[in-house]
Symmetry: C2
């Protein structure tokens, strides 16, 4: 890859645009926009063609009036970086720039780009001058300097603020800026609006007459086969910095989402909407974190915690969402949103509130993989050096190929550090960008070969279906079998025991009572 | 009250039975039991005529076969103590020994004692010799020596073990002992069964041939208008120390409960069943505890947390049971069950596991009322001496008259300690046994008279309906209004503000933005 190209995941190199292409692209943007305006369509720019932004852009481009007419034309904006520029030509060829298991994703891109011609992607900032609505979908991370010390976690808003600044330099004063990124509560009021005001004032716009229009609304996307639907056909909370902004956001969301079945929920402020998002995910993170200590107790008390949980979950309405302990918690939301909230409490909202449960939950969940390490370590009397481990599952969620913040990575590292030789398998993971040292096998038999320890780390369907006789035969040994979250039925455990394997299970203290039939 | 009488809540004195009455009562028990056996009925003894035991006894006595025949005759056993003996004559007169808002309670006692004659109460231990099944409903408390240090909490099993010993001295070897009391996990295996074995062996029963039959099953009673139904028509988890015990428990529960609509859930052991109960309540306690720090943040960030929660709760299945912060957490379950679990981990199950989330949640919830105190303290710049406070609500739950571990007591104490003069009102509370120093007004106007501060502590329907103009007029002042858990709508808050009151609300940071219309 040379300095001026961008490499797509399928291996195609795309040349970055040079300064000479600026005028042409600008002209193209003007021409398309004029044409689309003449068709009566609103102009939407989505900033950031990432995991959410790209799909959101397609959903907006796919929205139709009752008469079946497209409501908006969408410009998807992506900075021309080497890392991401490739997304622009890929989108403009009618293909999605994201990998997902949802068959609707390739369909919607092809339909909007090729058939309806309501979606196009660009790198040119001029596009913001043309927008009626800018939807902000820039990625925003929390940084956790030390594993297990989430209280030290922080949020660097520099890049996010730069993105907003770019918008402020270009947009018409009455353009709605709708932030969809999960942000620390207070961001729209303390960062987005003041940054836009600053840029407006540089442009000599009278912000007392033309205050920036800012709103916040968050998606609740779920990776997997319902990816598009989980954005379009699901409840939305939103709020604006003022009534005009809230009303503009409402109109937009009503045009784009299935609000008939999933009514919008208006909050009194953007801060309230932002807070709802991070509390929602903190709630989930806290409920998972609670379970680890019960798993430890169940293991030592000879109890199957998963059975206990199943019995409690019959209580509909109050207890049916009780979470299970597992290898750990990954993905992009539960691992960082509590930290965004805790950091915002001090740094954006200027309070002295510490969100101790939130932070503690992240720590518990981040460290959860170490318990599986302990289980293995103890079963082998600490002798891990040179032991072959087959780690089944690299993604953070069952039946999904997403590896972001996967707890398998933490387990992998601790095993390798202890001297074990770890081979990884995942049927859905093509690359593991967060753990380049680990190669991910596609061939399960190959991965299992010679394994002293087989770890059922993720509940992919393929793994749940595995025949113990096959697993044991493939290793060529009588391996230690480790079940990280009730992936093995008692019947399967008995079969492994009958095949002379040792079996351990997180939260499964009853295993020692499972005798041969 | 003389030494040998027992005073019922309605003021009637009952003479305790003397030694001379033993033979008569024994004879009566034998005669009734023989007669009932001849009618083909099983004999059940319920040990402990408390809040759950008395109602459970009535439910068992009310159970009928498909042909409409009573299945069991029930002896309700109560020790002849001065504190509780009165329950026996009250029950035997066809009246319930418990106060509850459920109209089915007086009905079921009258029906079973007077009409069907399937329920009778006794103090005589001889009754255990006659039992096919003993249901244990003895009260079992956790002790918290210091407020806010739940980790030091413990469970004194002496009285409970004595109760089991009494059973063991008398029962037939094949009698099922079904423990319904919420106990520290491990109790049936480590306390109940060994105690019964000890007593059996003293009686020269060969326990290898006749092991004690012990099972555990927990109710999920909810105080309020559905008291009976919440025991009878609800899911049950159960487990036995062996298969025979589990099967006997199953047969009994199937006869007594609506298992057609609420199927039983069998656990592999009594410890698992015991663990399910305390985890179930810990889950709830932890979810409430999580919310306090978000209330603090919302207050300082100008956000209405309750609105945030409402917006999140639209997510059915995963988030619709999110709890609200409030004055605090009371009642008999959430305040102690996490402590039973944590204590059991060390003292019964002999593990080194500390249930830190569980314990911390109890602390947060126990200390929660101090935040309302802080709100008041801050609003008055710390000048509480001589201030008149009207505390609306003494019970621990809305529309229920139950004061056990009510957070209102903690608030009352902290206000009085700070020099305030607190008057209490509750439409449903007759006496406040846990806080005898506080008299509970029945007349709201009288309670409000002269109040500088009005605290909406509990969400009783009567309070939600109150007209701000009436409240302010009744005080004769412009009091500080304090809303402990979203009991006041924004419209009501605006009215109070218009009447020149100050208003504060836990978790309601938006109040300062509520201007007069």
């Amino acid at each position: 890859m040379t300095a001026d190209t961008s490499l797509s995941p399928d291996g195609t190199e795309y040349r970055l645009p040079g300064p000479d292409e600026s005028a042409n692209e600008k002209q193209a943007l003007d021409a398309i926009t004029l044409q689309q305006r003449n068709l009566g369509r609103g102009i939407v720019v989505v900033q950031g063609m990432g995991f959410v932004g790209a799909v959101m852009a397609a959903i907006v481009a796919d929205a139709e009036s009752r008469r079946g007419e497209p409501i908006y034309f969408v410009h998807g904006h992506q900075r021309p970086s080497r890392r991401s520029f490739w997304k622009i030509p890929v989108i403009n060829s009618g293909k999605p720039p994201v990998n997902a298991d949802d068959p609707e994703i390739p369909e919607i891109f092809s339909r909007c780009v090729v058939d309806k011609k309501t979606l196009r992607s660009t790198w040119h900032d001029h596009v913001y001058e043309l927008a009626d609505i800018v939807v902000v979908d820039i990625q925003l991370d929390a940084t956790k300097p030390t594993l297990g010390k989430a209280a030290e976690g922080y949020c660097d808003l520099t890049a996010f603020r730069d993105g907003i600044r770019t918008i402020g330099r270009h947009i018409k004063p009455d353009t709605l800026v709708l932030v969809e990124t999960t942000v620390p509560p207070g961001t729209c009021e303390k960062i987005v609006k003041p940054t836009l005001v600053e840029e407006f004032q540089k442009r000599r716009i009278d912000t007392s007459q033309n205050p920036p229009r800012v709103a916040h609304s968050y998606e609740r996307v779920m990776p997997g086969k319902q990816y598009v639907s989980s954005i379009r056909n699901f409840w939305r909370t939103y709020g604006g910095v003022d009534d005009v902004s809230a009303n503009l956001a409402r109109e937009f969301l009503c045009n784009v989402l299935d609000v008939a079945h999933f009514p919008l929920y208006l909050m009194a402020s953007t801060t309230a909407s932002e807070m709802a998002k991070v509390l929602e995910n903190t709630y989930r993170a806290a409920n998972i974190a609670l379970m680890l200590e019960w798993a430890l107790l169940a293991e030592k008390a000879g109890v199957n915690l998963f059975d206990v949980i199943r019995s409690i979950r019959v209580r509909k309405g109050t207890h049916d969402n009780m979470c299970r302990p597992s290898l750990g918690v990954g993905g992009y939301c539960l691992t960082k949103d509590p930290i965004l909230a805790n950091w915002a409490a001090t740094h954006l909202l200027q309070t002295d509130v510490k969100l101790e449960y939130a932070v503690r939950s992240v720590d518990s969940n981040d460290l959860m993989p170490l318990h599986t390490f302990d289980i293995i370590h103890q079963a082998l009397d600490g002798e891990l050096t040179g032991k072959m481990v087959a780690l089944l599952g690299a993604s953070y969620l069952q039946d999904v190929g997403d590896t972001r913040h996967s707890p398998s990575a933490t387990l992998w590292k601790s095993l390798v550090e202890a001297g074990a030789v770890v081979t990884v398998h995942d049927p859905l993971v093509k690359t593991w960008p967060e753990l380049k040292e680990a190669s991910v096998h596609k061939d399960l038999t190959q991965c299992l070969k010679g394994a002293d320890i087989v770890v059922f780390a993720v509940g992919h369907r393929d793994y749940l279906a595995l025949d113990p006789a096959y697993v044991v035969r493939a290793t060529g040994k009588t391996p230690l079998i480790v079940d990280c979250s009730d992936f093995l039925t008692d019947q399967k455990i008995r079969e492994y025991l009958r095949l002379r394997c040792s079996v351990r299970g997180l939260g499964k203290g009853h295993i020692r009572s499972l005798n041969f039939p």
